[in-house]
């Protein structure tokens, strides 16, 4: 199984709308990503191996720390904002609060252009905020975020530290595209939508 770093990126898409799930799946597959779609934040967390009581819901697997579930390794999560129960924002928070999942880039989608909503999501750590309907041009913006985490993957701890150095250098070189409004020190390449 190994690290499979040269194979396709795997994106987890979360949306309560069946139409939008179909659409995002097609958009992502067109861009050669492997896709898993779920219809709620709760199901997303289950898929990611994160439960309230910390034990895995998957009956087929023995208790294994989530970041070693290689077959299900998720490289990016793209989620709708407005969902019943757990919103995309709630999901984002849970992911960023989780030590095992917080390095996974999260992108939020919303049909509503609410500036305070957008900044709240970005401040919480979302990489991008896409207005719906999402288009291929939006999906094309995902690549840099996915490439970044290839080297920051906790499975590659030693390699990650070495890469971190060169990544930091790369980020500095790209200062001209950085948004100055970011409060979080990490993900600094930001396209403000």
């Amino acid at each position: 199984m190994g690290l499979a770093t040269e194979s396709q990126f795997h994106v987890l898409a979360v949306d309560d709308s069946i139409i939008d799930r179909k659409l995002i799946e097609r958009l992502l597959k067109t861009s050669s990503y492997q896709v898993t779609t779920v219809d709620s934040g709760t199901k997303a967390l289950e898929f990611l191996g994160l439960n309230d009581d910390d034990d895995l819901s998957n009956p087929n697997q023995p208790s294994v720390p989530p970041n070693i579930k290689q077959e299900l390794e998720v490289n990016l999560i793209i989620t709708d904002y407005c969902m019943p129960g757990m919103t995309g924002y709630d999901l984002l928070k849970k992911i960023k609060e989780s030590t095992s999942l917080r390095n996974i880039p999260v992108v939020i989608m919303s049909s509503e252009n609410v500036p305070s909503r957008i900044s709240r999501c970005l401040e919480e750590g979302a990489e991008e905020f896409f207005l719906k309907p999402v288009r291929l041009a939006d999906v094309n913006k995902l690549k840099p975020h996915l490439m970044k985490t290839k080297y920051e993957n906790p499975q590659n701890q030693e390699t990650a530290e070495v890469q971190q150095q060169s990544n930091n250098n790369k980020r500095k070189a790209r200062d001209d595209v950085l948004s100055p409004d970011r409060t979080r020190p990490r993900y600094t390449e930001l396209t403000v939508v």
Partner: protein
């Protein structure tokens, strides 16, 4: 060859009219661009999902507005869903009808909501007919060898 040319023209004219009359917007074009040999039925599949989902939402809306005490948040939630899905397929007039509807929800205006629901049903019916016609024309063209 004439048959194919005529069908092509009919399809093109019909398609143009749908955009001109505001039934469809650019998002529909985006959908068509996502269709290819590996996913030859993509547009029909998405639109079918839209039809099913819309029918469900319209009937939920009717039910919700019939209640003794109308739950406007629920009504608004349904309209929001329909607005989203119509926007995702480029069904512009349906989307716009949803936007008006939400304003009446905000005002908690039952009369207004009922009128909007009727309008929404009408727009949805129109859209459904138009799209079914469009798909039929496409099918005819395919079958004629175009």
């Amino acid at each position: 060859m004439d048959g194919v040319a005529q069908l092509k023209k009919r399809l093109a004219d019909y398609t143009t009219s749908l955009y001109d009359e505001g039934y469809l917007d650019d998002q529909f074009v985006q959908l068509q661009q996502l269709q290819d040999e590996s996913n030859p039925e993509f547009v029909v599949e998405v639109v079918s999902l839209f039809f099913q989902d819309s029918q469900r939402l319209l009937s939920e809306l009717a039910k919700a507005l019939e209640q003794q005490s109308v739950d406007f948040r629920k009504v608004d939630a349904y309209v929001h869903q329909l607005k989203g899905s119509s926007s995702s397929i480029g069904a512009q007039r349906v989307q716009r009808a949803c936007i008006s509807f939400r304003n009446y929800c905000d005002d908690q205006n039952i009369e207004g909501c009922l009128k909007c629901l009727q309008q929404l049903k009408n727009e949805y019916s129109l859209m459904k007919n138009k799209l079914e016609t469009l798909f039929k024309l496409e099918q005819q063209l395919l079958e004629a060898g175009g």
